[in-house]
Subunit: 285 residues, 2 copies
């Protein structure tokens, strides 16, 4: 059987008791290590599980899935995924391939950032579509996120923005020369995300949001040192939130009083928060 | 400190290792037992934790929160929540009260139905707002959910419908006479939800969806015997999915081919699925 086991959001102790039992008894254990990260490394997981863990990079998962699935019709193979196996990054392709091979699959769910973001105090009911923000380059600043944010904003809903991470990326030069040398990992910060959002608004000029729009920045959700900050996009574009991973929520117009009371505690500046809030939020429709 | 600890979705082994450690060491442990349920009872949890657990009903949480928080400035008090503490039902009011009393709070996230529903193979990115469906009575058939579903449908997004549960409810007569006698618990089924949705459409007649609209029914998400079924609302209104809890997802027009391939396996009838799908789904806009 193939077991897709969620690891949760922070460290090795965020696995569920059920998940841990399966990991300990399995024939092989893979760790999906390219779409998200825990705040601890593979060695820490191995020590905690008392067994080796095989790192599965994008190449292995996308081209070598039959290696992962080898023998899984007879024995138990575990595929560990940070967060929930069907959360921000889904592994439906691996499950579909397992089905083709007649291999049963089972899922052990866990906290995902898609629901964990509720710890901001914003109601998950009031969220629209989730979007992703990639690192802009000089020549590539994709703004498809903007269209989806626009739909959410029009309905007054919050938007969760998931921030890009780059692990095991090769420079163009190393890629061209076939050298398996990887760049240092990069994790987008709340400040970078807010700045890119403002850059896109300046480009597109559809007034979806602006420097005074309120947003919540969240860092290390689920970890003991998780941090939240609320402020205008202008303020957040200069905020420092420490180690990864970061996420951002653009506040919807329909924000409820209880949500406001909860997040106000984290305001960069309560005065600008109140001023911005009064201008554009708290409407029931 | 007040610890809000998520229990996940199925049984006692869905708590995280971190959560379990906190539960074992805490001074008092409460279980929020009125907005959702695990598939096991309190005695099973107590045996697993090796300690007593205090059941917290709506009355205690809403009026007796200071009893829950008593001494939490000095000792550790745990408040267990099925799913994630900030998932479908949030406990922000308890946290706000703790803040007023100067009590620190910490959250241990876990799987919530809001993200666990990803196990259907539907991408969480493609979901709009989540709605709740309550049990209709002869005289009370609230249709506010319909307006939110309409917004999602117009954007082509999926809608997660969370289904009502009734635990520790009193009959009007017992309530009037002050008798603490409770009705047997009731859990809405996928079939009841689909039927109520169709009833509301017949009432409102705005063409948001119809008997041929496709939806996914999910039962016992996260449990080893979780079950999924996909079909038209007409088909689902007659489907039998076994023990609670159930959820339903109304499919959005923007459904991706990969999502279709994944869910088609669960079709009540692949022929009606294909026919309905071809008529109204798989459009990118």
């Amino acid at each position: 059987m193939l077991h897709l086991v969620g690891l949760g959001l922070a460290d090795e102790t965020d696995i569920t008791v059920r998940g841990l039992e399966i990991v300990k008894k399995a024939e092989r254990v893979y760790l999906e290590a390219y779409t998200s990260i825990l705040l601890v490394d593979k060695a820490k997981l191995e020590a905690f599980y008392g067994r080796p863990v095989i790192e599965a990079d994008r190449e292995l998962v996308e081209s070598g899935s039959d290696d992962i699935l080898a023998g899984a019709d007879q024995k138990d193979v575990v595929f560990l995924v940070v967060g929930d196996p069907f959360g921000a990054t889904t592994h439906t392709d691996l499950v579909l391939r397992a089905r083709e091979l007649g291999i049963e699959t089972r899922v052990v769910p866990n906290a995902s950032i898609m629901s964990g973001i509720g710890c901001t105090g914003l109601q998950l009911y009031n969220f629209g579509q989730t979007v992703s923000m990639v690192f802009f380059t000089e020549t590539w600043k994709p703004s498809s996120f903007y269209d989806r944010v626009k739909e959410n904003v029009q309905m007054g809903l919050h938007t969760l923005v998931l921030l890009d991470i780059k692990v095991k990326e090769q420079s163009l030069e190393n890629l061209a020369r076939g050298r398996r040398i990887f760049e240092p990992p990069r994790y987008m910060t709340v400040a970078q995300c807010a700045a890119q959002m403002l850059e896109t608004e300046e480009e597109r000029k559809e007034g979806v949001y602006g420097p005074d729009s309120l947003a919540v920045g969240a860092a290390r959700v689920g970890a003991p040192d998780q941090k939240m900050v609320v402020g205008t996009l202008q303020e957040l574009s200069q905020v420092e939130m420490g180690a990864p991973l970061h996420s951002l929520v653009l506040l919807g117009r329909r924000t409820h009083d209880l949500e406001r009371d909860y997040i106000r505690t984290y305001a960069v500046d309560p005065a600008t928060f109140d001023a911005s809030y009064q201008k554009g939020y708290g409407h029931s429709l």
